[in-house]
């Protein structure tokens, strides 16, 4: 056997393997597609976890848990009923299944009972299936294929699809049978000696601000960076180090919406510095352009091209173990050219949240937000919306948690339905395999 023969044989093997990989990737991306938020707990810094990639496949947080993350949920998140009890395999997929280390699977179910007390009208009750998703990640060497697919049903009230996930739907929406949603799907390559870099391409959470599970927070809705439906298609590079982490993303647009004029293109990124394992501070920037502003999302905008800017600073601090403070301040600028005239709207949105772990597995949360997107203007839009949250969260059983929230909002904000104005009571249960 000559070296030439060996080289040819090696090349042929490689091409075959590469072709097989491409076929698998195509199948995965085109048929399976997708994802949805599962967890995103920035207050895990109380346990000394400043980064996200130890517990989540997404290095910037949220989504499918790693095997380590599943174990952590049992050890430090769930309410313990026996002192120093060994959780064994309870954290595993379906409470017991040993998956190959290359494979992550997660099935999520989340249901919300919602009572709205809109200003000036009678109370309304809604039952919302927030999440029914199957997530997966396959890691072969340094290659990753990650995604999930979910179902979002039509609303019970009128038989039409009004539920979450608009902006992440694969199938026609609205539709009387609901829709398939695909919030994330990406291919990734781990780079670096310790795989500290992750290069991804696909539909990805937009790296900006504090990544939190409370997707209706104004800081996430106004900047359109929530993990419910705010993902964009593009390419990103994430870095996770001991003291610094961050991610930058080139945004190619959200191809789950059309026409193309509404797709935002540009870039976004954040970095976070962790001077200690109880303190993290960061900054973010987002600049996008669309040929047509989303007037359905923000009625104050003109139906014209738009440059959308957002710049943020944020902090996560745990001064004592039971308490975690989250803060984010965003400066906003919407710049439009309307009938040849420049129209610039400057604004701010800010969040302050306190999470108190009164006992392992039981959390009390309080948050306040303010938003004004038209500061100093003479229009009727120059108003400040304030919201207040008070909630309790109980991680009561392996893979299960229950949460109740009371929310008051003095006004409206981009991305929020009119019914959000006033008082709301929310009760949600979440379980996963």
């Amino acid at each position: 056997m000559t070296w030439r023969w060996r080289r040819r044989a090696g090349a042929a093997t490689f091409v075959m393997r590469a072709t097989a990989l491409v076929v698998v990737a195509c199948t995965f991306a085109c048929v399976l597609l997708a994802s949805r938020p599962a967890h995103a707990f920035p207050w895990m810094i109380r346990e000394g976890y400043t980064g996200c990639n130890t517990c989540h496949a997404d290095p910037s947080g949220a989504g499918i848990l790693t095997a380590y993350g599943r174990g952590m949920e049992e050890v430090v998140l769930r309410m313990p009923y026996k002192k120093d009890a060994d959780p064994g395999k309870l954290g595993n997929f379906a409470w017991s299944v040993d998956l190959p280390e290359q494979l992550l699977l997660q099935t999520d179910f989340r249901n919300l009972a919602l009572v709205l007390f809109p200003s000036g009208s009678s109370a309304q009750f809604q039952d919302v299936l927030m999440q029914l998703d199957q997530s997966a990640q396959l890691k072969l060497g340094r290659f990753r294929m990650n995604g999930s697919i979910g179902y979002s049903p039509p609303s019970v009230a009128n038989g039409e699809f009004t539920g979450g996930g608009l902006g992440a739907t694969l199938t026609d929406a609205p539709g009387q049978y609901g829709a398939l949603v695909a919030r994330q799907y990406w291919l990734g390559l781990d780079i670096g000696k310790d795989e500290e870099f992750l290069l991804r391409a696909g539909r990805i959470n937009v790296p900006f601000g504090v990544r939190t599970i409370e997707h209706p927070f104004l800081v996430r809705q106004v900047t359109r960076t929530d993990i419910d439906k705010g993902q964009q298609h593009g390419v990103s590079l994430a870095y996770t180090g001991e003291k610094v982490r961050g991610e930058i993303m080139a945004i190619a647009g959200n191809f789950a919406i059309s026409p193309d004029a509404f797709r935002e293109r540009g870039g976004s990124g954040f970095f976070e510095w962790m001077p200690s394992n109880k303190v993290a501070v960061g900054a973010s920037a987002l600049i996008t352009h669309a040929d047509q502003a989303r007037t359905d999302y923000d009625a104050s905008l003109a139906p014209a091209p738009i440059w959308r800017h957002a710049y943020a600073v944020h902090a996560r601090i745990s001064p004592v173990k039971p308490l975690v403070i989250l803060a984010e301040f965003d400066a906003l600028l919407n710049s439009q050219l309307v009938a040849g005239n420049a129209e610039n709207h400057a604004g701010v949105v800010a969040l302050l949240q306190a999470d108190v772990q009164v006992y392992q597995g039981i959390h009390v949360l309080a948050a306040g937000e303010v938003y004004n997107g038209h500061i100093g203007e003479t229009s009727t839009y120059d108003t400040t919306t304030a919201t207040a949250w008070l909630g309790a969260w109980w991680f009561f059983a392996p893979h299960f948690d229950f949460r109740i929230d009371g929310v008051y909002s003095s006004g409206s904000a981009p991305g929020l339905p009119p019914s959000a104005q006033g008082t709301s009571l929310l009760a949600q249960i979440h379980g996963y395999l």
Partner: protein
Amino acid sequence: MRRLFAFAFASVSLLVTSRARATAEFPGQIVTDQKITCTNPIWDGNGCTICHTDDNGGLGTATKPFGRYMKSQGLTPFNDQKLAALLTALQNESPHATDTNCDGTPDIDELTSCQWPQLAVDQCGADGGTGGDGGVPLTVFYGCSTSPAVGDGEPILPGGAAIAIAGLLAAVTIRAKRRKR
């Protein structure tokens, strides 16, 4: 390896959704398709500006109302067939109604009567139509298969899948180079 690169190049070229860019023959094609006979129809060579900010065109410059509308209906660069289909659709309106720049005159009538300079002026106010009757507020569609932009000559796969495939191929290439070393 060459086949792999060829496949990668072909995949990216074919699958990634294109953005509308200046296509030099479009003004002339409008004149031909619509059998426009009035003098100086394309406005001393400034015809590109009915869609683009200037005659140089370029990525992201089709921001005039008519340009945004045509893109929203699926027009992509060099797609003469799609342009013809869209012009036919405008002609088939009865009565002509699409007035993207809100000046009170239907766009197709402005094209055929050589009022291209007027069509290039955005008269829509912040409310979308203070400059005249009409205006075409675009509607957001959700889901891959609802897109009005998907049509003749459009890519079959969503852009995300194309990007993902391109990423995988790049990764495979990097790994192959490392193995060689």
